[in-house]
């Protein structure tokens, strides 16, 4: 089967899958769901949606939390790079990015929950209360804690993306040219570099915006409850025992898709307006328009993000091994492994499910990505339909799309099976795996493979032993990123698994507000532990792979060369 055909089949499958997901949500939004006897098309679900008492307030909360979190994350990320570029601080920050990105957002949210709550660690550390104060520090009605959690999770991602753009901007030379004209560094960042960076990171910014506006698990853990953000409200309607709620939930999901699209347009228009208004100022010749301390002040907020992540991780560790920890004690009074011993069966089952789903879905995503990229290379690296489709799984709100897909799974009899969960995980990890591999794979010097084929006359062997072997570092990185994305999936696992397949994430999110702090901490800790290990392996393995392989070969040669029963093959 030619790669072109494979490419066609993959693109067709993904397109059909997305179409079914979207149609599966649009049809019930107009009261058409034959499975439960609703055959007449009507606008009633929309009327119910707009008349729902929490509709307006949910939308306002979503708008405030999503837009504010994205804006703050972007400002902090820009400021970190502008303030600390070419300094040791930035190299320290850079090292912090991979671990933070690896930790699933639910684990961070649970850590923050135990850190910021009225009985949390911060209150214990910095106040003298004898009882937890009657403060609303989490799940607050103004979404402040949700915004904070989103900023903690999204700022490192945006810094990572901005740093990846800098080499192509010739930042060092641009700074020198600007400074030679008398401009101070902050003004060069403001007038030249940041306007050059933004168009390059527009898509990641939209991804952050879409995520912040539609996130469910994070909002369930740390967001407001009455009313909740719109995605959580829709989620609750979908889960309602009354099947009629499903119609207004579907209308809400379609509304959320349109809402995000409108927000994208408004965001882009606002950017263009801001740029248009400030463009005249770019050429006024003012050499010190902005002081470096502006960026330093904003950029130093990243320290708080780092400290929050570190403290959140520590508190998860403390709760996991705490036997007795009463308020206002700063540390547990007694320690124990009983928490692990008592839940060992549950932890084993959840870890097995989590790892099986993450590993298998990522191997499939890797194979698909390699096939698509090889097909793209053969077509002279032209932009393909898949390149445009690939962003849709990230941009489409999960809460609507997945309930549309659920109907397909139920109809095909795979709902509640590993297969359906793995299919959805492939769908959500594929964009990350494909995009991580994209540039290194296409930049590979194909002459190595040509040379290998000419020498061995075995194209498949050459592909495996030369091309893939030389690309092992990006392949491991892509796997690690896909793995952490898979581990973090809450809604896809919940919906495809139909409550029958639980993972560390689904269990942690479900129990987050149950008061079972010890178990939830343990779940969140293990949930964060697996991606961190895989990330470390992805960095370490490519470095030691070749020396280890050669050492093994040498050992085997020395061990068996005398017996003449083993011959070394190169």
């Amino acid at each position: 089967m030619s790669l072109k055909l494979v490419n066609f089949i993959i693109v067709l499958s993904i397109s059909v899958f997305m179409l079914i997901g979207i149609l599966g949500i649009i049809a019930p939004a107009f009261h058409y769901l034959p499975a439960i006897g609703a055959n007449e098309i009507s606008l009633d679900p929309w009327k119910e949606l707009f008349l729902a008492p929490e509709f307006i307030s949910s939308i306002i909360l979503t708008l405030i939390s999503g837009v504010t979190a994205t804006f703050l994350s972007l400002m902090i990320a820009f400021s970190v790079v502008a303030a600390f570029y070419d300094s040791k601080i930035l190299s320290i920050f850079r090292k912090s990015l991979a671990p933070i990105l690896a930790i699933p957002h639910a684990a961070i949210a649970i850590g923050l929950l135990f850190l910021l709550s009225p009985s949390g660690w911060l209150i214990r550390l910095f106040t003298t209360f004898e009882r937890p104060p009657n403060w609303i520090t989490i799940q607050d009605p103004y979404t402040l804690s949700l915004i904070f959690a989103l900023v903690v999770k999204e700022t490192p991602y945006l810094i990572f993306v901005i740093l990846a753009c800098l080499p192509q901007l010739k930042t060092d030379e641009t700074l020198k040219v600007g400074r030679s004209m008398g401009y101070n560094v902050a003004t060069i960042w403001q007038k030249i570099l940041l306007p050059m960076i933004y168009p390059l990171i527009r898509l990641p910014v939209f991804i952050v915006l879409a995520f912040s506006l539609t996130v469910v698990d994070l909002a369930l853990i740390i967001g407001p409850n009455t009313p909740s953000t719109f995605a959580v409200t829709i989620f609750r309607w979908f889960k309602d025992a009354d099947l009629n709620e499903r119609f207004s939930a579907s209308a809400g999901a379609v509304f959320l898709m349109l809402f995000i699209f409108v927000i994208f347009i408004i965001w882009e228009l606002a950017y263009r307006l801001l740029y248009f208004c400030s463009k005249k100022k770019l050429t006024t010749g003012n050499r010190s328009n902005l002081s470096q301390s502006f960026f330093q002040l904003l950029g130093s907020l990243y320290f708080f993000i780092l400290i929050s992540v570190i403290l959140s991780s520590i508190i998860l560790l403390l709760w996991s091994f705490a036997k007795r920890w009463r308020f206002p004690d700063i540390l547990p009074s007694t320690w124990s492994f009983r928490n692990i011993e008592r839940n060992i069966t549950l932890l084993n089952d959840l870890s097995f499910n989590t790892l099986t789903i993450a590993i298998s879905s990522n191997i499939i995503a890797l194979i698909i990505s390699l096939a698509l990229l090889e097909a793209k290379r053969q077509q002279s690296c032209k932009k393909t339909l898949f390149d445009r489709l690939i962003y849709l799984p990230i941009l489409l709100p999960q809460v609507g799309f997945l309930f549309g897909i659920q109907i397909l799974f139920i109809k095909s009899g795979i709902s509640g099976h590993f297969l359906s969960v793995i299919i959805l995980h492939v769908f959500y990890t594929l964009p990350y795996v494909y995009l991580t591999l994209h540039s290194p794979y296409l930049a590979f010097n194909q002459n190595y493979l040509v040379q290998a084929c000419a020498l061995t006359h075995k194209p498949y062997k050459s592909f495996l032993q030369i091309k893939l072997a030389m690309l092992k570092a990006p392949i491991f990185s892509a796997f690690a990123i896909g793995f952490s994305v898979s581990i973090a999936q809450y809604l896809p696992t919940l919906i495809a698994g139909n409550g029958l397949i639980n993972t560390l994430t689904t269990e942690a999110v479900t129990l987050a507000s149950s008061g079972e702090r010890k178990l939830v901490s343990l779940l969140a800790l293990i949930q964060a532990f697996f991606p961190l290990i895989v990330f470390m392996l992805a960095i370490w393995l490519p470095k030691v792979w070749t020396p280890a392989r050669l050492a093994l070969k040498h050992y085997l040669y020395m061990r068996f060369s005398d017996s003449h029963s083993y011959t070394i093959k190169n």
Partner: protein
């Protein structure tokens, strides 16, 4: 006159320059040739005030008897040209020139001056287009024009013709030479190419590794 006295540049144990001395009168060019990695561009970084902290440096840079070596790059009034034109891609060619014009020139005069310069070099029709739509030669010329509009007191050219093909290289080189002769600035050129050094005239320093 740009005078370099006892310039020493060291990276860890390696001494790239030791007690390097040179005098470049206004309107003259000092060409520096040498293989890759011998420290040519590092010398320019030192002269522009943008050398990395990892280098140990000493020596004096005097411009018309004013000591520059302790000034940051933005206070030195230095013009720098690289292989890449480094025209800012989000600004039109006119705006790129206006960006360089000193703040003392205000309002409409900024645009008028930039347009006048573009017209002088038959590039007026490119004023409102983006740099992406310029040919390699046009980019090189506007880049030099931008540098000159910032009113530098000396020029540092870091292989500015390196990315141009042979025909274009000669054309742009002649343009640059004509400008240097007109504005009478002390100039230091770093190059790999003997033809560049020959065309520039002036003193030639050949470096070895």
């Amino acid at each position: 006159m740009l005078k370099l006295t006892d310039i020493t540049i060291q990276l860890h144990e390696t001494c790239l320059f030791k007690n390097f001395n040179a005098s470049i009168p206004t309107g003259e060019v000092l060409s520096i040739m040498g293989p890759s990695g011998c420290g040519k561009s590092t010398l320019l970084d030192f002269l522009s005030g943008s050398i990395a902290d990892t280098f140990k440096t000493s020596g004096q840079i005097n411009l018309n008897n004013k000591e520059l070596s302790h000034l940051p790059i933005e206070k030195r009034h230095v013009g720098i040209l690289y292989q890449e034109s480094l025209l800012f891609p989000h600004l039109s060619n006119l705006e790129n020139l206006m960006f360089a014009i000193p703040e003392t020139i205000k309002g409409k005069q900024r645009a008028e001056l930039a347009l006048e310069k573009l017209s002088e070099f038959n590039l007026a029709d490119k004023a409102h287009t983006l740099p992406a739509y310029l040919s390699g030669g046009q980019k090189a010329r506007i880049s030099l024009l931008r540098t000159l509009l910032s009113e530098p007191k000396y020029l540092l050219l870091d292989e500015p013709f390196g990315k141009l093909d042979k025909a274009l290289r000669q054309e742009v080189r002649e343009f640059v030479i004509a400008q240097i002769e007109t504005i009478k600035l002390p100039t230091i050129l770093v190059t790999h190419d003997q033809d560049d050094a020959d065309a520039m005239g002036g003193t030639l320093v050949q470096l070895t590794r």
